[in-house]
């Protein structure tokens, strides 16, 4: 065991939350006497795994996550002595569909995506392989352009949101779900069938990050990619965004709930560390303060959809309300 006590806040986790966490950490370091927290990336899962490794100086204080912590993870945490966890929701991440700025513009509905990407579609009481290769075949209103999509790989939390809020939604909207259940599938099987994405190369899974998706679109200007809102906002000179159900994604439309595809972002504090690691409490409070996470703060400027219930979050942090207490 190292003799030195740790005096830097240690944060780990989601790469989606990372940009926001670094903005906060940087400002925190500038405005407080505490050292700038160390923010690791590596994914929500890694962050939580490290977080749950136990209590003590060589474990992280905060885990960033682009999803909420799972029940099984809480159990693992508890088994390792991490019992008091404070869950902090910092806002929402909008998920947008964008294509090359010089190409066609798109106005999508979830149904379009379902029809374009489903592995199999129900036709006359039978599941047949998806025959669609052109957007105009999916929906006559869409431009005559080959379907080529870059969607997050199955390791990304974004994929889960995409599957549920877009594909499954589309499946229901087109009535395909109903058709499947009529074919004798139970609800689970039907949902699963809805969310199965075609594997014939029309849709490409991206295991990397949005910069990879952007590079793929640069390599194939007919492609349509899935991005985070913040990423899109920083690249409006090369990307154009598609509407979903007639709503243009923006901080406002997502905050109001009009735009359907978004997910909440969190960080988790190890309560046991609060009084021990210098600056931890201050960092957490600073993160959720109006100056930072409010609708006019730097996080919103960067693309975070500010949480309308920020005040409640601030209370949770200030009063250290752990998950069990809620």
């Amino acid at each position: 065991a190292s003799a030195q006590g740790r005096d830097t806040v240690q944060v780990a986790g989601s790469s989606t939350v990372l940009p926001y966490a670094t903005i906060v950490a940087e400002a925190f370091g500038e405005n407080f006497d505490f050292p700038t927290p160390v923010v690791e990336s590596g994914g929500s899962s890694t962050g939580l795994r490290r977080f749950c490794e136990g209590v003590g100086e060589n474990t992280t204080d905060i885990a960033n996550a682009s999803r909420s912590i799972r029940e099984s993870e809480i159990e693992t945490c508890a088994a390792n002595g991490v019992t008091d966890i404070i869950e902090v929701r910092i806002g929402y991440d909008g998920i947008v569909f964008a294509s090359d700025i010089n190409g066609n513009s798109f106005e999508f509905t979830p149904s379009d995506w379902y029809l374009a990407l489903a592995a199999e579609l129900p036709v006359d009481g039978e599941m047949v392989a998806n025959p669609n290769t052109n957007w105009s075949e999916v929906n006559a209103d869409l431009p005559d352009q080959e379907i080529a999509t870059y969607i997050p790989g199955t390791r990304h939390g974004t994929r889960e949101v995409f599957d549920e809020n877009v594909i499954l939604q589309g499946c229901e909207d087109t009535g395909a779900m109903g058709a499947m259940m009529e074919m004798g599938m139970d609800e689970d099987a039907a949902e699963e069938a809805c969310m199965e994405i075609r594997a014939d190369g029309v849709s490409v899974d991206i295991d990397g990050d949005y910069t990879e998706t952007l590079a793929r679109i640069a390599a194939n200007p007919e492609g349509i990619g899935v991005f985070g809102l913040a990423f899109y906002q920083n690249n409006t000179d090369t990307l154009q965004v598609a509407t979903m159900g007639g709503v243009t994604p923006s901080v406002d439309t997502i905050a109001s709930g009009e735009y359907p595809v978004s997910r909440p972002l969190f960080f988790y504090i190890k309560a046991a560390h609060l009084d021990v690691i210098p600056g931890l409490q201050e960092y957490a409070e600073f993160f959720v303060s109006d100056d930072i996470a409010g609708p006019f703060g730097p996080l919103a400027a960067y693309g975070l959809v500010s949480d309308p219930e920020l005040a409640e979050t601030q209370r949770v942090v200030a009063e250290r309300v752990t998950m069990g207490d809620m």
Binding site: A21, V38, T46, R50, T236
Partner: protein, 451 residues
């Protein structure tokens, strides 16, 4: 003399004497094969070099601009009522004014300066503030807190221009792209152009890129490599100090001293196999052993160095063993016959003769270690770190980042301004690598000899 020329005629077989100038069919074939072989060799070298040049050109063309940065200078009046409401110049009190409090001061001063210069423009105050880096308030605040007496004075500050403005002067942002870009307007660019003509704005070499710590995604213009360079340097210190001696020692034992039996076969296979273990698995190992078991701190170069050492060891061992094996046994026999001990024959004769191969293994191993990110992911070094680690040895235990990590992080950032910085970081990494290699290559040339 002989009738050689006559004999070199077409009558094969009959006349044994053939001119050595004229090649027979078989020799022609063999020489053609020789020429082909040689051409393949040359082609292979050229492929390697061309690939390198291609990659270097793309890195350089993308990254050279990272070493230049755009600065704006203008006078700022540090008004007491904004920056020291208590009026007692107590730094503790003044620290209450956060960077958010400094922002309007700077924005206003910038607007005033432009007006004083007499430049006409249609940019609102908020957009004016956007032209200046978010780093500026922090810069100003730090200098004010360091010297509270500045309050009340007017001083000329030089601040970083925002990323898009900077990009405009590097050709990355154009008027056309600004039309479509939500983050910058053509008016801002025109104003920037005017400022440059008025001498308030200049683009010049940027030491901060090499010395400053990383910055958040909002401030690409301020992001630097200071912490990463230190982190990589520390890690390489650890790797070099451990991997080279341990690797060479292990190879010597296995190749020269170990009894040749099943066990040593097992060790040999095992070491080759370690080379095939994906680097992230070494991260898993490092996390389990060095952090969770030995209790070393996270994100620390010591842990990174240890993990990379374990990862580099197989490379060095394989290279070293191969070159030890290549030393002819007669050299060993000569030394032993003179009454040298085995140890002496190895250290005096065999090792120097194997040195070129050892150094090659070290170069390749270190190059790999220097550019590796995956194992660092699990031990917390793929991180945003702004505090410089202290000098070694304590500094080895402080949090730090690393050059490849910085590249990895920056390529993931959404602001396109980070693309040039990632390439710039790669340039620094390669320079770092060249420095490390230069010594090894020099040594290798000294040791190379044929017998």
């Amino acid at each position: 003399m002989t009738d050689a020329a006559a004999n070199s005629g077409p009558d094969k077989g009959a006349a044994p004497k053939r001119s050595i100038f004229a090649q027979d069919a078989r020799t022609k074939r063999r020489n053609a094969a020789e020429a082909r072989f040689r051409a393949y060799g040359l082609a292979a070298v050229i492929v390697g070099v061309v690939a390198l040049i291609l990659l270097l050109v793309s890195i350089l063309s993308n990254g050279a601009s990272a070493f230049r940065q755009t600065y704006i200078s203008f006078p700022v009046t540090l008004s007491e009522d904004r920056l020291d409401p208590a009026g007692n110049r107590d730094p503790a009190e003044m620290a209450r004014v956060t960077t958010f409090g400094y922002l309007p001061v700077i924005a206003q001063a910038f607007a005033d300066a432009i007006e004083a210069e007499g430049l006409a423009h249609e940019v609102g105050l908020r957009s004016l503030a956007d032209m200046i880096s978010d780093e500026a308030p922090a810069q100003l605040r730090n200098s004010v807190l360091a010297n509270p007496d500045l309050v009340g004075q007017t001083l000329t500050v030089e601040v970083l221009a925002g990323g898009r403005i900077d990009g405009f002067f590097k050709g990355r942002v154009t008027m056309e792209s600004a039309e479509r870009d939500a983050n910058v307007t053509p008016e801002q660019l025109q104003l920037a152009q005017a400022l440059a003509e008025a001498g308030m704005l200049e683009t010049r070499f940027n030491w901060d890129f090499i010395t400053a710590p990383d910055a958040s995604g909002q401030r690409p213009e301020a992001a630097g490599l200071g912490v990463a360079i230190l982190g990589s340097f520390y890690m390489m210190l650890v790797v070099l100090a451990l991997a080279l001696p341990i690797g060479v020692a292990a190879s010597i034992y296995l190749e020269e001293f170990a009894p040749k039996n099943r066990l040593t076969d097992l060790i040999e296979v095992n070491i080759s196999n370690l080379a095939a273990v994906p680097s992230i698995v070494f991260g898993i190992l490092g996390l389990a052993i060095f952090i969770n078991f030995a209790g070393l701190p996270q994100s620390a170069p010591i842990v990174g160095g240890l993990v990379l050492t374990l990862m580099t060891l197989p490379t060095i061992i394989i290279a070293t063993r191969a070159s030890l094996r290549a030393v002819p046994p007669s050299i060993r026999a000569a030394a032993l016959g003179l009454g040298a001990s085995k140890m002496q024959s190895v250290f005096h004769h065999v090792l120097p003769l194997a040195a070129p191969g050892i150094l090659t293994g070290t170069i390749i191993g270190l190059a790999q270690a220097l550019g590796e990110t995956a194992p660092l992911l699990l031990i917390g070094m793929v991180a945003f770190v702004r505090e410089y680690p202290a000098a070694p040895p304590e500094g080895l235990f402080d949090a730090a980042s690393a050059l490849p990590v910085q590249v990895y992080n920056w390529t993931q950032r959404s602001d396109p301004a980070f693309v040039e910085r990632a390439s710039g970081a790669i340039i620094v990494l390669l320079i770092f690598l060249l420095f490390m290699n230069a010594l090894a290559i020099f040594l290798r040339r000294r040791f190379e000899r044929r017998w």
